[in-house]
Each structure stands twice: as structure tokens, then as C-alpha cells.
Symmetry: C2
Subunit: 146 residues, 2 copies
DNA sequence: CTTGCACATGCAACCAGTTGCAGCTACTAT
DNA sequence: ATAGTAGCTGCAACTGGTTGCATGTGCAAG
């Protein structure tokens, strides 16, 4: 099954409609590889189809997030980053000092999820997570300065 | 030392000035007990001092966040929640179904922080964290419906 | 006490993102 | 194939939050 079909099926399963606009928007996120801002998606879509309204793009991204097709994460910059949720779930470590974003494998949070469900009966949705802090490089630099 | 003095000292230590507006704004957050939205702070401040501009409040909250005096968390609602960072650091579990926010003790994330520093040399700043998911009550209800 | 200056404030213009609404379109049932 | 309907789209108005700038103010040095 092609990725276009997968997306279409996911939409229909949720009782939503498959429209050219939605497919273009979701395809842009999917093929971005990395995380993209809504603004970036708008630019990209409007370059090809200028008549697509920004509100449609915001609405589509927002409903796709609710469906679990994409994740929305505040990476510390002004506007939120969207990312296609594929097979390789991962999170981000963001250095507050240099702004670098690193991927963090899912397994680091598995333990936490297990603990929450066992001890508190809370089913955590750890699909998307941004952890702020200081990376190794910046920590070394800070030590040298002091 | 009174809490007012603590706040003032923290500001001055960071090379910032102590003004009546700032003290009023930070005091509102500190004494809110729970988390408060910027909008709520604006209402509260303007009830007493109508001349204080919203932009001042946004700027103050934002710089206080950078100083680590308050935390800013997206609780899933439209606007961010601010909370005074006291001795009892904690996080929030937010149910996507019923919207309830529960406090989560810091110890649940200590393990993760340790793992990150030992394995990846990344010093995580886990001062404020919002974990989305489904609470026990809503999970039970969902099971009954199916 | 006075002076200087960096930081903070209020104002107003601005902008990204949201919402209400009327028309349109994908999907479903017949 | 057709009609009905629920959901989507574009438009335009709106709103919460941000930014630039001129003025005001806290604070430290003299």
C-alpha cells in the first residue's frame, strides 16, 4: 500500500473526508523527513496551490494531530513543530543553550509509561515529547568558562 | 526572608529591576497556589491596577520563566499555564478525555534524568512537564462503552 | 543627594492563528 | 447513477499575543 493510501484510509476510518488539500498538506509533513512548522507547510503548499487557505492548513494539521497521524511539539521556538508519526517513534532532546535538537529513542520513556500505568492507572500517551536541557558540548563549554 | 524579598533578590541577581508591576505580577502567580493562565493574571492585576499593560505582563512572565522563577506549561488548553516554582517540584498528568490535571511527584522522572545524563551526557531540565494520556476513570468508562 | 544609564513600561501598530458562516464536495445509501 | 448529508473549504472578521519605539524609573556610583 502506498503512503497516500495509508493516509486516506486513516482519514476515512476516522469518519473524515479525503480531499486534495488534505492529501497535499499531510504529504508535505510526511515527506518533510524532519519536523516542520505550520508556517513552513503553508509556504510549501501555497507555492504549488496558491488558493489553499492557511486556515485549512491549520485545521488539517490540528485534526491530524488528534487522529494521531502527526505530532505537534513545542520545540522552544515560537511556533510548534509538526512531525509525521511513523514506525520509529522517538522524542527530542533540545539544548536550551545551542538550540540543537537530538532524537531520543522511545525506550527511554517506556519505563516511565509502565510505572504510570502500574502505580497510578494512568495510560500515558508518550507519542511526542520535547525534553529541554543542556547538551554535552555546551556543558563542557560552560565548565571551561568558569 | 519574606517571599517578596526572595523574588526581589532573584530579579536583582539576574541584573533585572524590581518594579511595582513585576512584584504584583509575580506575587499573583506565587499566591495562585495552582497554575494560572496569562489571561487570568491579566484580569487579576488589572482589577487592582487598571493601568498595567498586558504586554508588560506577558513580558514579565516570559522573563521570569527564563530566570526559572515560574514554569510555563501547555496543558492542552489553548493558552499556557504558569506556575510558581517552589520547593515541591512536580509535574502534571493531563487526561485528554476529561481534561483533569493531576500532580505527579518528581521522583517519577528522576530515573529518566539520571539515565539521560549517564548514557547521553545530556543534562535534562525537568522543571515542568505535562504528560497527556487517559486517566483511570475515563479508561474504565471507555471499556464499559465497548 | 544627584546623576547617568540600562532596563522596564505603556502605547499603538502589527501579525499569526482562530472562528463563524455560506457554499461546495466527498462519501453513503438507495 | 442519483440524491442526501455530513464534513470540508475559502473568505472575512476577529482576537490574543508580540514588537518597535519614545518615555519613564530603579539602582548604583560618585
Amino acid at each position: 500500500m502506498s503512503c497516500e493510501n495509508e493516509t486516506a484510509v486513516a482519514l476515512r476510518d476516522a469518519g473524515q473526508k479525503v480531499t486534495p488539500q488534505r492529501m497535499a498538506i499531510l504529504s508535505a509533513v510526511r515527506h518533510a523527513g524532519e519536523h516542520v512548522t505550520a508556517t513552513r507547510v503553508i509556504e510549501q503548499i501555497q507555492a504549488a496551490q496558491p488558493y489553499v487557505d492557511p486556515s485549512t492548513i491549520y485545521r488539517t494539521l490540528s485534526s491530524a494531530r488528534e487522529l494521531g497521524l502527526v505530532s505537534e511539539t513545542d520545540m522552544g521556538t515560537r511556533d510548534a513543530e509538526f512531525e509525521w508519526i511513523g514506525k520509529d517513534r522517538h522524542h527530542h532532546l533540545i539544548c536550551k543553550s545551542c538550540g540543537t535538537a537530538m532524537s531520543l529513542d522511545n525506550r527511554y520513556l517506556d519505563g516511565l509509561a509502565t510505572q504510570l500505568i502500574e502505580e497510578l492507572d494512568f495510560e500515558a500517551d508518550l507519542g511526542h515529547f520535547a525534553i529541554f536541557g543542556t547538551c554535552a558540548k555546551c556543558r563542557t563549554q560552560n565548565r571551561e568558562e568558569n
